[in-house]
Assembly symmetry: D2
């Protein structure tokens, strides 16, 4: 599947607001905004909701995590094949709340290419972002953990971290697109992120915890429509 | 939810034969046999298929794994709340392919009781089975890893491991029911397991990899109908 | 090696005050008090200091941790054989700062018996303490993590946790001796711990961070001399 | 401490042949060869032997592993400060037998620079080697795990893996020196490794399991003396 950039990737995390049946409701709201605006809005539901959500909407679905294992006797693990069978188009990897090792990411990224799945590898510093880019995923996402969930956007609070990441990735592997996350909640934050050289944003609480999901997503994409 | 024993718990593991849409198909076959025989047949689909399968069948659904974390900023983790929201009635824990620590199991077992979820904790030796029983789950499942997937049933090959486990659990915490697994594939194996003092079996490849799922499940429950 | 109870086990953790050469100095002070009083005082230096400390003193030395692996290609791991070769008499396991899984503890405890090494398995709740006792180590140590390093002794602040642990261990495996830890720093705390049915204490900052090590250790053993 | 290249780094792993007192004996043999030839021979003893070995020889000592934690309440962990206090000049990280995560390596590498310690980060593929180089350690060591302990030298069996690693590291971070390992046991292997652009080798069984340690080490350095 080809992704049209910029990309707004909404991570449902393990929030109660987007769990179970509510995961489908939120995904449908995201789908509506995509249909109305044409801006790519992808969602990453909880692992347990993955196939259910993918069966209900047409927008791109990502797994929040995958394990570096092959199908078979792997109770409790998430194979890339399961992610694909569930109907997702790719997987997030190495989120600050679910780090894995570089050799594991290397295995998953290589296998995702074979399976036609998209990989988004998270990182916490410019150096780690560059390291992840060296593994050749489709995208890396720089997210300083100290800003996650704060509402203080990384694109404003620490623009140099985003710029340094973009610059290092450009040097290490220019095919890899950079997203940024942490504290993103408004269209202004998104525009700031794109100006710093990213191709999109990764966010969670800014949408999931909003009282009006549709309004929250429109707030993000609005400046991109002008 | 009350479970009627004996219990046949089918673990889908990460087998390609029971992944994605096929997880629903297999669960429906299990449901048919339950409806036709009244024997409790529960299934543990892949994490990614959990909510989808639970939305399609009425038999008891278990998660293959849960993490000792609460809802919130827990990307890529499986909370008990997510398991419940997905429509499952409980969770397997500590399978030999996905071990966790005793203090984590302690947290999950206590919280599962609050949420009304059922816990099945796997173990590999009589001593570890006794240790897991000390944590007070609903069930423990003794599975010598060396027999898993072999077709050589633990109830025949190592009856003393099952007997020792039953005896130790009886001493440590008689409220905890014992299942056994590893190599189970026929009704004869199930009967042997029940005679050793267990309340049911845990199995995977014996059903999932069978050419005719319905026949394979009937093979298991048949001697229980007489 | 036979241990004479009560036991005072001083965990050096990764404190700078007891690192490198200072680990030998502190161990020698502990040895002096043992020679002067006959009370068993054991020490658990940092992993990196283990063989050095053991080469310099005659008191019992414990490793702070061991891995469930056998000698060979195991870079960066701590085998029981290495612990023994280093001159230690046993190992702590599953400290709240270095938890391992029950199946791993099962392997290590069984192998330690073959090698003649002593095992002290830590736990955080009465239920986990009982679970660890089911694995048959020489000792378990109940340490509520929330009291560790506070100076508030578990034997006074939460006597019921110690009592419940002693009672459950007595039921599960009466051969296993119970220690308690967390917040212990005075002889009064030690006496309170022994009255609750323990055979000794595990402590760290109360001695390591004391300005006068000898005085701090004498404070602990003093009431035992009367 | 400055290291003079080429570097022969002997990893003692958890081999019984180099455990406890024997770790000191082997380190002394390495020291003799260094004194007689001037070629830098460094050793990485078991964690438990680190301070003891460092107290007995003058050659460079590396820890086999370090944890990304600071001194304090860190039972069973290896801090960089402990490594330094033990008398080592640096640490290996991320050996195939003891992998850690990229964000952890990032933390350790940055802190090692502050403490004046040298870091050698292992990797299994050219891509992971490049990723590790992006984190800015002093050295990376490419070791295809399938050749470790085989006696089949990577420098001969898979020269392209070494060359690709050298090339990628040159692009990502030319300040980082490349070592190679796996299957190295003769001077010919060392020369082949240096010709491929590395600055030295990492080896283990080739020396540790040799009947005559001195001869084995001389076999390695001999071609470098001509």
């Amino acid at each position: 599947m080809e992704i049209k950039f910029p990309l707004i990737l909404i991570n449902f995390k393990a929030y109660p607001q987007s769990s179970g049946k509510k995961s489908v409701e939120l995904a449908k709201v995201a789908e509506e905004v995509w249909k109305e605006t044409g801006i790519t809005i992808a969602v990453a539901p909880q692992l347990t909701d993955l196939a259910l959500v993918a069966s209900q909407v047409e927008i791109p679905i990502f797994s929040q995590h995958s394990d570096p294992v092959t199908p078979g006797s792997r109770t409790g693990h998430v194979t890339l094949e399961a992610v694909k069978d569930a109907g997702a188009i790719g997987t997030m990897l190495n989120h600050s709340e679910r780090r894995i090792r570089a050799d594991e990411i290397d295995v998953i990224v290589k296998k995702a290419k074979e399976l036609g799945l998209i990989t988004v590898v998270c990182a916490n510093t410019p150096e780690v972002t560059a390291a992840m880019a060296a593994l050749g995923p489709d995208m890396v996402a720089i997210e300083p953990p100290e800003l996650i969930g704060t509402g203080i956007p990384v694109s404003k609070a620490k623009p140099e971290i985003v710029q340094d990441s973009v610059k290092l990735v450009q040097k290490v592997n220019p095919d890899v697109k950079v997203l940024c996350g942490a504290g993103i909640s408004t269209g202004e934050d998104v525009v700031a992120a794109l100006k710093l050289g990213t191709k999109g944003v990764l966010l969670a609480s800014g949408v999931v915890k909003a009282k009006d999901w549709k309004k929250a997503i429109y707030d993000l994409v609005d400046p991109l429509l002008k």
